[in-house]
Amino acid sequence: MTNISWALAAPLLALAASLAGILLHSTRDNQRRLVCSLLLLSALAACGAGMAGLLSHPDTAVLPIGLPWLPMHIRLDALAGFFLLVIGVLLGAVALYSVGNLRHLAEHRSLTPLYIFLPLFVAGMQGVTIADDAYTFMIFWELMSVASYFLVTFEHEQDANRKAGFLYLLMAHLGGLLILGGFAVLYAAGGSFEFGAMRAAALTPPWASLAFLLAVSGFGMKAGLIPLHAWLPEAHPAAPSNVSALMSGIMIKVAIFGFLRMVWDLIGLEHTAWWWGALVLAAGSSSAVGGVLLALQQHDLKRLLAYHSVENIGIIAIGLGLGMIFAHYHYPTLAALGLVAALYHTLNHALFKGLLFMGAGAVLQATHSCDMGRLGGLIRRMPRTAALFLIGCISISALPPFNGFVSEWLTFQAALMAPQLEGTLLSALIPFSAAMLALAGALAAACFVKVFGIVFQGMPRSRAAAEACEADGWMQLGMAIPAVLCLLLGVLPVWILPLIDVVPQSLIQAGLGKSAAGGWLWLTPIAPERASYSPLIVLVALLLAVGAFLVIHLRSGEKRRTAPWSCGHPHLNPRMQYTAVSFSQPLRRIFADLYQPQDKLQRSDHGHPLLVKKLRYQVHVQDQAWRHLYLPIKRFSEWLTRRVDWLHHRPIHGYLAFTFVTLLLLLGLLL
């Protein structure tokens, strides 16, 4: 069985799963088991194909379907391989998780649409990665969009979900058309829809720039780069948790893939203008900081996580932008560094964001709420979930020895290579984006202290939270896999990097080369004296330090437990705790100019202002992109539609008059 057939097997198995979903709609349990296991198989196939793509030469095939003169071409190269791997890994975990998760969901309603569209969605994503002509690419791309739309609107009774779905599909459609435009430009130059021809096509700079802009806007819209991110925080929470895990973990990465395929591969970096990288870098920086800042003000767990996806996409984009800038100035190795950093973060984010969304799903299932104001103290009710979730939190906060830190470390290294460049504007922009990256990292840490502290620690803020019960084995397994990988990727980057390094080698014929100069212990992306990091040593040292003290203290194990001090109150109650809102208050105050929060305080007292009866504080932070970009567009188009509508409420003379005037105008052309 050749590599390509493995790659093909993945989407086919997914399609089979979808088919099984339709056929077995009568027997729910078999339906669930079969679909999940088929998805698991598809995941395994994707992993296998991914490894094959990374380790061996590109392999292509032509399918007997498609346009008459354009049968579907598929190709498995390093880039496709890497993303297939990412998809496969998380998909496997999610498939296992779903076995448990969906059982509970099935108690409320029929899941048949879910079983139909979830596999289609997966097939779409896998298909995009192996597409080798524009037509196939677009087919799978839009399949991915449409299927995920039906997943977002799965619980369509809620008004919010429908709104989210509409916004999502609308932006997906627009994005798809922009991408199509990009391909059209390449087609015009290359004369064929096959990627091979597009690669070979010689683009004139203006056309290349046009294609690039179309690609950035199109894929950026799917990836959720600010300000094209509006759909993301709406859609991800709306979908069922296992789907949000896939959407946030993989789908937006597929957009990154598309960007790489189109800009780095098809257009080719030899055509880059210096501002291409700068643009991506700027977008990345603003997304990184903007995303986390907005995340900090969210009090719905899944919404918060969704905004963090915006942040992490921003970080990835920073890596890509740096790579493109270096490529423009002909520093292939550094370009490779930027790309590798981005790809590594892609993998990492897929893992920990998948983990976090699955954890959120477990919480939602246990407490029927994602509103942080109603959660708390879950660490005692669901300790395993808490532990796994904590791993996710540490990883996404870019703390050693977990994986998030490694990729941000690499990105910093890339940014610190800036002095190589000439051109002051860039050299001003790059350190700034490095600063933004640092800021984003720190804010993320703050945000996840908030998340873990409010959701899992302290005292339960609602009965549901107080009576929550631990997620079942399947779900724990599903979460455990990415958790373990988070640690491994954090500790053994030296073993992972050579694998990723294949991608830049195939894309820009340059790689990091030996990223482990000082032996397998030492991660040295450029040169040992430049920068080195040995996560394993760090880990061992940490463990030693902790272990030593543990030994000391296991001797004298006895402890006394009393009530915590509560300013002399008789006993502490949950309402005295800091809430999600109050936790983020200082930042809200610091960045008030960015947030422009609208808050109102209602108080009623017994006659005297000090005898407070009731105090009610509300604060709402709106995504400024709405105020300044989306609503104006909406208003304008509404205005236009009103104008046009006027046409259609004329008396019949009016209609005849239209015909008449048209005729006169046409004849007037002849004068």
Partner: protein, 487 residues
């Protein structure tokens, strides 16, 4: 008496029969049977053309080439499925007393007459007869639109009648002008209006006259195609008539009108070696696309909504034929096919939805997927398909149109993109709440026959995934045929 005569005579005879006993179950069955027969015949003819190339019948009176035989078979197919759909639909209408037996007779008779008109128009070789056929189809549909005799229906039919009447009259003037110059070349008599001959002699026709003629033909046939700003009759006509008629109007009659327009364009291009005709068509196409896209947002009636979507798509086709390169023509033909399939399919579901809810006001149609999953999902899938999402064929054709446009007129791509997005938004903002959400209390159960719908969508899906070779060659030949008039 060859195959060809069967094609024309069947609907005529059956129509005549229907005028007397066109009510009750047999009528519906007969209706289906007749359409099925014509479908078989059409396929037979298609086979002939594919095997032995274009041919003419009854001297020069009729002719069949790749272009129109393909439209004939498409028409026959949709007409058949529509007949299948209309059987239970009209029964329900009769049951709730919207139509009497007398009206049902009229309905069936006119249905066949209308189909006859389209076959005549498609197969005739004579521009004059083409015009007559279109007028005939128009008159037949006028009676169909006013079938319910409600004030709104009357108003709509009247509007349809007057606006289209005037339009068609202008088209006749254009035809006369063509004749006035062609008669100099080909002498008086039928020869001077025979398309095939004109197509050969196009070079010698007086450019000045031909240009003026095309202006009139553009406005005239454009009115029937439903091009902005002569489209005003279309939404009402679709909205007030019985749903099967809306389906065939959208799916077929507009195609035939566009067919006529394209035939004339081929001649004018031949006469005036310039691209004026093409540019005019592109202009009208884009205008229709944009205006319809914007108008979609403001609709309240579900059938009006989808009729505006039809205007949008006719705009796309007109644009494609206006660009006129083989690729663009290919895209246009493909789009014609898939649009007919999908749009008529949508109208079937819409009809059932309206019956289920007892209203066409979208505000009152909610939560279809809950109480009528078949209808609800059908509507959703259909909308997704018509909005140009793969793997449905509409995407394929729009994809090709996109590239074709970028090749010749890059600037149109921007408007095209804008229009498509606006149209999608306008369509979907209305469809989603109808399909999703919680349904109202009272919903009347309807016997739905989703077979035609699935058939149509299935074909559209097939065309999206893989265009069969013979169809491709077919489009190819037609596309080149349309492009190369006198060039």
């Amino acid at each position: 008496m060859n195959l060809f005569d069967v094609l024309l005579l069947t609907p005529l005879i059956v129509g005549a029969i229907m005028t007397f006993m066109g009510h009750g179950r047999i009528a519906a069955a007969l209706n289906i049977a007749a359409s099925a027969v014509t479908l078989a015949v059409a396929l037979g003819l298609a086979y002939q053309v594919l095997e032995h190339g274009a041919f003419t019948a009854h001297g020069q009176a009729f002719f069949l080439d790749a272009y129109n035989v393909f439209l004939v078979s498409l028409t026959a197919f949709v007409a058949t499925t529509t007949a299948v759909f209309s059987a239970p639909y009209m029964l329900h209408e009769q049951a709730i007393g919207r139509v009497t037996a007398k009206r049902l007779r009229l309905y069936h008779a006119m249905y066949q007459l209308f189909v006859f008109g389209m076959y005549l128009g498609l197969t005739t070789n004579n521009l004059g007869v083409l015009w007559i056929a279109l007028e005939l189809a128009t008159l037949a549909t006028v009676l169909l639109v006013s079938l319910y005799r409600t004030p709104a229906a009357i108003a709509a039919a009247w509007k349809y009648f007057i606006v289209c009447g005037v339009g068609i009259a202008l088209a006749l003037f254009g035809t006369i002008l063509i004749f006035s110059t062609s008669s100099e070349v080909l002498g008086h008599g039928n020869a001077a209006l025979t398309w095939t001959l004109l197509y050969e002699q196009a070079g010698q026709l007086a450019p000045g006259v031909m240009t003026i003629a095309f202006m009139f033909l553009m406005v005239g046939y454009g009115t029937k195609v439903g091009l902005v700003p002569m489209h005003t009759w279309l939404p009402d006509a679709h909205g007030e008539g019985p749903t099967p008629i809306s389906a065939v109007l959208s799916g077929l009659l507009l195609n035939v009108a566009l067919y006529a327009l394209v035939r004339c364009k081929a001649l004018v291009d031949g006469a005036t070696q310039g691209g004026l005709a093409g540019e005019l068509m592109m202009g009208f196409g884009l205008l229709s696309l944009l205006v319809a896209a914007l108008a979609l947002h403001r609709q309240r009636d579900i059938k009006r909504l989808f009729s505006f979507s039809s205007i949008e798509h006719m705009g796309l086709m007109t644009l494609a034929f206006g660009i006129g390169t083989p690729l663009a023509n290919f895209a246009g033909l493909l789009h014609m096919t898939v649009h007919s399939l999908v749009k008529s399919g949508i109208f079937f579901t819409v009809g059932h939805a309206a019956q289920a809810m007892g209203t066409q006001q979208m505000i009152n149609i909610r939560g279809l997927v809950r109480h009528h999953p078949g209808i609800g999902w059908g509507l959703l899938i259909g909308t997704v398909a018509i909005a140009g999402f793969p793997p449905f064929g509409v995407f394929t054709s729009e994809f090709l149109l996109f590239t074709a446009a970028l090749h010749t007129h890059p600037w149109t791509v921007v408007l095209l993109l804008l229009g498509l997005v606006l149209a999608f938004a306008g369509l979907f903002r209305h469809v989603q709440p109808m399909a999703f959400g919680t349904p109202p209390e009272q919903v009347n159960a309807v016997r739905v026959n989703m077979l035609p719908v699935y058939l149509h969508f299935g074909l559209a899906l097939w065309l999206g995934l893989a265009i069969p070779g013979f169809l491709a060659d077919w489009y190819q030949t037609a596309a080149t045929l349309l492009q190369g008039a006198g060039r």
